[in-house]
Symmetry: D2
Subunit: 320 residues, 4 copies
């Protein structure tokens, strides 16, 4: 999907490529080419032994959003090999979906369409009793990584009061980005719109427990966009169903969701089958970024568009 | 709805009010107070005779979005009486809904939620075959009044290529606002997202005819947000149903829509029962604007937040 | 200057022009053409009699920044004749100069260039003892008309805390524009950068008296950009000379300034001989605006780029 | 200057500090504490031996703008020790000065102040014959590092057409930042405002040769803000003096400049004695950044506000 004809052709004219599609490259094929390869695109396992054998290797480019545990991040850093991710390039599509879901929840787009089809709709102010708006709203982000950085600018014209909980970021950095750092409790209790944008790591698996979700502001619009593992998913469904808050969900503990799952009957939730990031536009954007970044890396210049693994944090994300 | 307790109390402490709720003020009541009143809030008929009798009148404030034919706009101008509308204050809520509808159409939020409930959803790229994104999209506005001015900034972070058709506005003005003027044909044929934002007047009733709608770009996302009268509504439904384009509709030729209308079965349309503008936030914003503007008017200073009637255009809008 | 060859030619191809250059058009010439003219560009006297004779007149376009007393503004409004000014088109050049002067004052550009020429410069932090920066600074505007509206966006990236004193504007309007309304005292006492941007009218001639200027924050950077008449000019020079504040001046009670004026020796002031607005770029922008606006007016559509006279306020501005 | 009382106190309450002021810390003192130290602030020499002895060292923070050759950058990376610079925190002050200088050159602020003092000033359009404006101007950056990234947003409201020459950056990255990549020739020949913002390294010492400077657009406003070594300085002075272009200079091959240097007499240049970055506000901003970043580093989290050395490029910058 990434190597569309245009980009592929452009890259091929500049470099020699060794390609394998459909599954991970067989070990024998990896080992055959390891000593001559400059750039790896994909999720090929790269332990310390392989990294040390790959004398010409300049960068490993992960084309999924999450760091995988099959790379020795510390060793790569020692050897000066970049480990990179396309996550920042995938983020805009997710951010757009977050806005669409937030407005759909706040303004009742899905719900009112359904009422209209049943001739049960109400017009104007009578139909807007529960409607809330992003303008000047209290907004909370849980996690401020690639998704948060892409979502922030989309919310800017609504003049929201955005507060961010991210335990890995400093108050001063968030202030420089134009946001206020806040405690988890404050974000949960006060946000009218709550965006769940954190990645998963050793420390935060299921950290949004039933007890914490119970503190979410009454009638908040909650968008679960990053990884389902950060919440107690059953509790999340229960609270949304009970009308404790409104919810939109793009990610699930198991995908595909069991066809007979009772979750599918829950009415106060907007369901999206993991559609936020993986669209044609995203893959085109990734292809363009690779076409731009690979020549940069081959010249031994620093990457500009892709995200670098922080060895300690990448290792934390992957060891679950 | 507008005079919430806070604002009401603040205004009442500054001015003497004569109030009538629920329907238009009876003629006798109007005539009794006409000579002493400084500001009229509401859609009270004001012909030349009344305007000339109202010696202290400084402003008439229409609290609906559209100019009504029951005011002599030319005479009011002659007498130096402002005729004002809250339309610019109502516009942000409509603009937000336009974004929500556009993303719902482009990214399939309503459609995929429904598929999920039927266990027919597809995940990731497989479910996104038809998905399009606002980022860098070709966007067309038909009409650039209050709605367009409110919508523009919400689209800015998506770096769209926005083209505007508005026969009352000059190319230079649109350029100054950051947009490119375009012909109607160009806007219809090239826009991936098409926002119908024009008001209705003598000249443009039903101007988006079946023949013109047939030229809309294949698979465009079309949001009908201002007035249903600007399109041939039946043709609009037909093309949307036939998949010529995707549509979201907030306004209808007759409201409420007939419960048995076959329109309600059409699947490729998002229906919203005139919910775009009239929400609590809008009325609060209107109340705040009046609390701010009325003292300004009483001091014989120009209005700042409300829109002034252009006598000739207001008359055109109302004489249908 | 306004009718550059390009614009002139374009306009001439559309309309018949009656032209007179160098001074005001002679009365006989005006009277000869009055009944057939649609648009007047210039400062031609237009009392009620003339206005009523000009049956086809749609607009009078003042190409100076200030309203003149030779027009009957009320009568023009009654007759539906627009009286327009190019002030908003002239404002960007003035705003740019304001930024240049503010940074020159705050960072000592003029002063340090002079010290360098005398080999008396100091480097780095030693030379920056008095330097202040616009970033996050407290900024005050006195007056928020065309100049303020043009200056605001230029300061936005510095994240200043801008407070505005303008007795004709409401708190809510300024808030909507992104600024905080403030009292005159607050603006004078607290601003690190103070921009004097008000026009002159009956009420405010010399209103920034010696007593008020004495309250200006110690070491503030004060830019006098609109009209010298709003300050007690001698007091202003005295305080600047005494180092009470730093000043940049573009406008003077008498222009040209007397060659032997002692003001010319004052060292803590940056002098600019009325250069802020009247540059080639401004006249080009005015020409373009006329070329855009005149066809609009001839079609009886509202003006878009030029400013309309508010009859009562225009009359106030002119009756000094 | 950096450790102001507030910040110092806050940091001291959190960490134990070992301090030495006025010159580089004596070797004995460094060696005594090397094994226990977590963060080094300053330009202490750190070769491979020292780096390997410093078992607890997490980061070295360079508080000057340029990388020094006394650190083994590759070894630091291998050991996972961050080498950081405050350059991004210093950049806003420099960017502000660049805007002030550009407007001073374009609008003639320094020059016209001097003419006024000699009673030789001309008013309005007559005095503005050579005036040019940033609005819609063609602007070129040579180098797009910290300075360019700080300057860009300050120019945004002027709607300039900014083109950037930076051989280390890709076209796609510059496009993502909102700029167009351009060749050196194009930037030199077409820019009305030319900002010289590049750092110095092995490859670019004196790269703006007399021959290249000769191609600068006639009457361009050129601001030399980063390092004098990137230009043939004598040629630069000659062309500026000859009126080939207008120039503002903040950095010199030797500082202080010889008091008797003939450069001091050159009239078409604005001289600034290395004042662009090192002002009180910058040091306060650096102090705040350290107070924010050091706890982050002690928790083994990635730095957020400071810039990381790219080993290969830092080494290139320093080996001259």
């Amino acid at each position: 999907m990434i190597f569309t004809s245009d980009t592929e052709q452009k890259l091929r004219s500049q470099v020699r490529t060794i390609e394998h599609y459909g599954s991970r490259m067989p070990d024998a094929m990896v080992d055959e080419h390891l000593e001559e390869v400059s750039i790896i695109v994909g999720q090929t396992p790269m332990d310390a032994t392989r990294l040390n054998r790959a004398k010409k290797l300049k960068a490993i480019i992960n084309v999924k959003g999450n760091w995988e545990p099959n790379i020795d991040y510390q060793e790569a850093q020692k050897l000066g090999i970049h480990v990179l991710s396309i996550a920042p390039v995938m983020a805009p599509a997710v951010a757009e979906m977050c806005v669409g879901m937030a407005i759909s929840l706040g303004r009742g787009i899905v719900k009112n369409d359904l009422l209209f089809r049943s001739s049960m709709e109400r017009y104007g102010i009578a139909g807007n009793v529960e409607a809330i708006s992003l303008y000047n709203a209290k907004v909370g982000f849980i996690g401020y990584g690639n998704l948060g950085r892409a979502l922030g600018p989309l919310l800017a014209p609504y003049a929201c009061d955005v507060r961010i909980y991210d335990p890995w970021l400093s108050k001063g950095y968030l202030a420089q980005q134009g946001y206020q750092a806040a405690s988890l409790n404050e974000v949960l209790q006060e946000s009218q719109y709550l965006f769940l944008l954190a990645g998963v790591n050793q420390e935060n698996d299921g950290f949004l427990s039933r007890a914490l979700l119970e503190t979410v502001r009454k009638d908040a619009c909650v968008v679960l966009a990053s990884r389902s593992e950060i919440v107690d998913f059953d509790a999340f469904l229960d609270f949304a169903e009970a009308g404790r808050f409104r919810a939109a969900i793009d990610v699930y503990p198991q995908e595909p969701v069991d066809p007979s799952s009772p979750m599918r009957k829950r009415r106060s939730i907007i369901f999206s089958p993991h559609l936020a990031g993986g669209m044609r536009d995203s893959y085109q954007r990734i292809a363009n970024s690779l076409a731009d970044e690979i020549p940069q890396l081959l010249r031994e210049l620093p990457p500009l568009l892709l995200q670098r693994a922080e060895p300690r944090l990448a290792a934390m994300q992957t060891s679950r």
